[in-house]
């Protein structure tokens, strides 16, 4: 009787060991076969410079320096550096939204332009005439964009204009035809 119970216990033990081995075997197989993997890739290397100047945004907000007595309102922005700009050797065209800016002062590493915008009311009368000064400086580590106007009213109308239309400022190289 004792021998029979011992035999049964042995068989049960063997069964448990085999079942455990199956479980361990599966896990063992998975762990040994497990491989490193990579899903997707990230490339932001091209986000540190740009070929030509291009700035766009949905709005512009002008700030007035409390210590500035000239009533100047400015919008300043640091942008990615531009490697290829050379105003002394190349010809450039400056565009603000749908408008090509004429008479821009283009130097070796900077661009200055003046924009005159008249705002009309529903009767066709001018309600505001704003002058916007645009300055872009191409520095070794960044590009700085400055928009400036004089007076709070002009700044408010320009903010409204950019809020309605967004801002798209481009400086593009013009390849001269041979």
């Amino acid at each position: 009787m004792t021998k029979a119970i011992g035999t049964i216990l042995l068989y049960v033990l063997a069964f448990v060991i085999i079942v455990a081995a199956v479980f361990c075997g599966i896990q063992f197989y998975k762990e040994v076969r497990a491989e490193s993997y990579v899903n997707g890739s990230i490339d932001i290397s091209n986000r540190f410079s740009q070929e030509s100047f291009n700035y766009s945004a949905t709005s512009v907000v002008f700030y007035h320096d409390l210590y500035d007595e000239t009533d100047t309102y400015t919008f300043e922005k640091d942008l990615l550096k531009v490697e290829t700009f050379d105003g002394s050797k190349k010809t450039y065209q400056v565009q603000l939204n749908d408008f090509v800016l004429l008479n821009c002062e283009i130097n070796s590493g900077s661009v200055f332009g003046v924009v005159n915008i008249d705002f009309y009311d529903t009767d066709g009368n001018i309600v505001n005439s704003a002058v916007l000064n645009i300055s872009v400086k191409f520095l070794s580590n960044k590009t700085t964009l400055t928009l400036a106007t004089n007076g709070k009213e002009n700044a408010s109308f320009l903010e409204q204009y950019f809020s309605d239309n967004g801002i798209r400022l481009k400086i593009m190289e013009i390849k001269q035809e041979v």
């Binding site: 990230i42 949905t58 640091d78 942008l79 090509v100 008479n103």
Partner: protein
């Protein structure tokens, strides 16, 4: 029969021996080899699969393509107000999909906004009454707090009320979370799962991780305390944790103020699993011990303070789309704008003179006109207001021996002019046929001594004549 029994027993013994070997091998490999397999998920742009086809269209401008491509899982907008000219504003937005199809029609974004400098802590659901013990292999039982069902439920349903939350669909941002009436917006809870795109495949990502900290099992008698063991409290990460981590990353970036992209490790906060389209279920990953998840974070960091709601990435500040800190806003209502061009001899277009001059032996002088490029330029620009000044006595004309005697044939034809000014001294100024035709000239200013010849054939506009 006995032989069969013997063979069976031998096989069984052999099987048991092999099993023991397998178990030993597994235990050794699992507990001593410690072969950690690392998988990596890189969360790049979240541009819809359909947009990727559209981007191949050559008719699209680079600007349009850039705008379409610029969609990342995490975006931060941070106005630090270091110049003390506005308010401190911190914003975080997550861009994701609503279905596993990963199309642009499934775009949705959810974001959080904090006015000020957020300084929060991971969620502490301390429940001193629930002492859940976990058995450690070394036989020591550590006690954990904050792991009861109640604690987990609190953590899973927690939404930090110190933020404003906004959803974005179809170009519009809105806040659909209210405290009393339920929510029609996406709530940023630990159980919230976002569908994102990795390697053009669908994954679900959820912020559901936590960490345990030993708060010490301390005994105290008559003011004398001593630690008798380890007691852990479980702290749950929430979206506020992500918010603060992102702001910290932006604030400490070496490039300073501006618009940049960084790659952040989300592994300690997020769990991620892949969606299997064939089975319609998420794949469970039981072979990878650690999955590192990296994601691009696009940020705008500004030294100014925010002044009005247009500076918010949601177009809303404090649930107000008209938010403005100015006390006396100016009425800027207008109908249309006109870009004013004041042209003269010095005006250039693409580096070339905008005006050209034709010499006439008959009239013994030059006729001026706008170049063809100039005419095309103004024909393509809407809403311009062009003023032209021709100063006959200017230094430029004198130094270059250019004696202007009139406007050439079709000189400004079909270029919309507001004001034409001709000043200086000359006897006669010739306006050749159609020189001002189709210009809709409004004001014609000129010096009083100039006699204009051919005006009747030059224009079809009614204008105001002003003598200067």
């Amino acid at each position: 029969m006995k032989a069969i029994k013997t063979i069976t027993n031998c096989c069984l013994v052999l099987l048991v021996v092999i099993s023991i070997c397998v178990i030993i091998g597994y235990v050794y490999y699992h507990f001593f080899v410690k072969d950690t397999t690392i998988g990596v998920n890189n969360i790049d742009n979240q541009v819809g699969m359909d947009i990727q086809e559209i981007l191949k269209d050559e008719d699209l401008s680079d600007e349009e393509k850039d705008k379409m491509k610029d969609r990342y899982f995490l975006e931060v907008n941070y106005y630090s107000n270091d110049k003390n000219n506005g308010i401190k504003l911190q914003e975080l937005k997550m861009n994701y999909f609503t279905t596993f199809n990963l199309l642009s029609s499934d775009y949705r974004s959810t974001g959080m906004q904090y006015i000020g400098d957020y300084k929060g802590l991971p969620l502490d659901t301390w429940d001193g009454n629930s002492k859940v013990s976990f058995l450690k292999l070394n036989g020591k039982n550590d006690r954990y707090y904050g792991t009861s069902k109640e604690s987990v439920a609190i953590a899973d349903n927690y939404v930090d009320k110190s933020f404003n939350y906004y959803d974005y669909t179809n170009e519009i941002n809105w806040n659909g979370i209210t405290n009393e009436n339920g929510s029609i917006a996406t709530e940023l809870k630990r159980t919230t799962e976002f569908i994102i795109k990795i390697d053009n495949r669908a994954f679900a990502i959820s912020l559901n991780k936590y960490f345990d900290r030993d708060v010490g099992d301390v005994r105290n008698i008559f003011g004398i305390g001593w630690k008798v063991g380890e007691v852990y409290n479980r702290y749950y990460y929430t979206y506020a944790s992500l918010f603060q981590s992102c702001m910290q990353a932006v604030k400490s970036n070496s490039a300073g103020y501006g618009d940049y992209y960084i790659t952040v490790d989300l592994s300690s906060l997020f769990s991620i699993k892949e969606y299997d389209i064939e089975s319609g279920k998420f794949k469970t990953d039981n072979v990878t011990n650690i999955i590192k998840t990296y994601s691009v974070l696009k940020f705008h960091y500004d030294e100014n303070g925010a002044r009005n709601s247009t500076q918010s990435m949601f177009g809303i500040i404090d649930n107000n789309s008209k938010y403005d800190i100015q006390d006396d806003p100016i009425d800027t209502t207008y109908w249309q704008e006109r870009m004013t061009y004041n042209l003269n001899y010095a005006s250039k277009y693409n580096g070339k003179d905008l005006f050209e001059y034709r010499y006439s032996d008959t009239y013994n002088g030059y006729f001026i006109s706008l170049t063809m490029d100039g005419k095309k330029l103004f024909a393509n620009m809407p809403r311009t207001k062009v003023n032209i000044v021709i100063d006959l006595n200017s230094d430029y004309f004198t130094q270059n021996n250019i004696k202007i005697v009139g406007l050439d044939y079709n000189a400004f034809e079909n270029v919309e002019l507001d004001t034409l000014t001709i000043r200086g001294s000359t006897d006669k100024f010739y306006l050749m046929d159609k020189s001002l035709i189709g210009t809709q000239l409004k004001t014609f200013k000129h010096s009083k001594d100039i006699i204009f010849v051919g005006l009747e054939n030059a224009t079809n506009s009614e204008f105001v004549e002003v003598v200067i």
